[in-house]
């Protein structure tokens, strides 16, 4: 039985094991626990930000640029690019009207002020790009019109 489990496990991580064996892969350090509550549905965008970034009051800033379509034909794939000249500690992408408003966020520990991802959008809504910089939150907002929703279905 144990052998079986072992075999299964080693097959599953086959490619990984090869990479590790070749000395290419360093063990992944866990920087912080994944904040489950931040990604839950029925959470307000403010609470999601509080859970993910420790605060929720974000002031509008002209130093953050969102590059995203004004109208998304397919809500399942909406490309969002966030760029900022601020020294960013974290960047979050929030689609206000989604069941789970916080789509994704990144903690930056040496990377530049840039983050891009493709997100799902259920309906036309404002999208916030929230940047944590110097212990404060700053945001930029863009409305994205969605013709066909991309959550559920």
């Amino acid at each position: 039985m144990q052998r079986r489990t072992f075999l299964k496990g080693s097959l599953a991580s086959g490619a990984l094991a090869v990479a590790a064996g070749a000395g290419l892969l360093k063990p992944t350090k866990v920087l912080a626990a994944w904040p489950e509550a931040a990604f839950e549905t029925k959470i307000t965008p403010e609470d999601a930000l509080k859970t993910a970034l420790g605060m929720s009051d974000a002031a509008d800033s002209g130093d953050i640029k969102i590059k995203a379509p004004l109208q998304a034909e397919n809500g399942a794939v909406v490309p969002i690019k966030v760029e900022t000249s601020l020294p960013a500690e974290a960047i979050a992408i929030v689609a206000v009207a989604n069941p789970a408003p916080l789509a994704t966020f990144v903690n930056l520990t040496g990377a530049g002020g840039f983050y891009s991802a493709r997100i799902k959008m259920q309906q036309t809504s404002n999208v916030h790009a929230v940047v944590k910089s110097g212990g404060k939150l700053m945001k930029a907002t863009q409305q994205i019109k969605v013709t066909v929703g991309g959550c559920g279905g």
Partner: protein, 104 residues
Amino acid sequence: MARLTKMKIKQVGGKHQVLVLVNHPMETGRRKDSKTGELIPAHFIKTMTFQHNGKPVAEANMGAGVSKNPLIGIELMSAKSGDKVSVAWTDNKGESGSADTAVK
């Protein structure tokens, strides 16, 4: 089952952008199977960590609100030719994957 993880570094205006593409369904857990009418269990990538020359530089956290086959991009600071960049991800079912490449 190893999932395809691709990484590409492209230069944009003197800066290096790292793009990672993972072959992953990113199921929300709220979608129904059109044939059986049953909910498809949630299955999505939770974290993705980027290392630049062995030093962690970014940790992306995501929920199921990220599109299927996620394409995630970050930017390197002061990257030089030959620098090693690697990425590793894990999902909510314990699957994981990684990729590495060098700056051209």
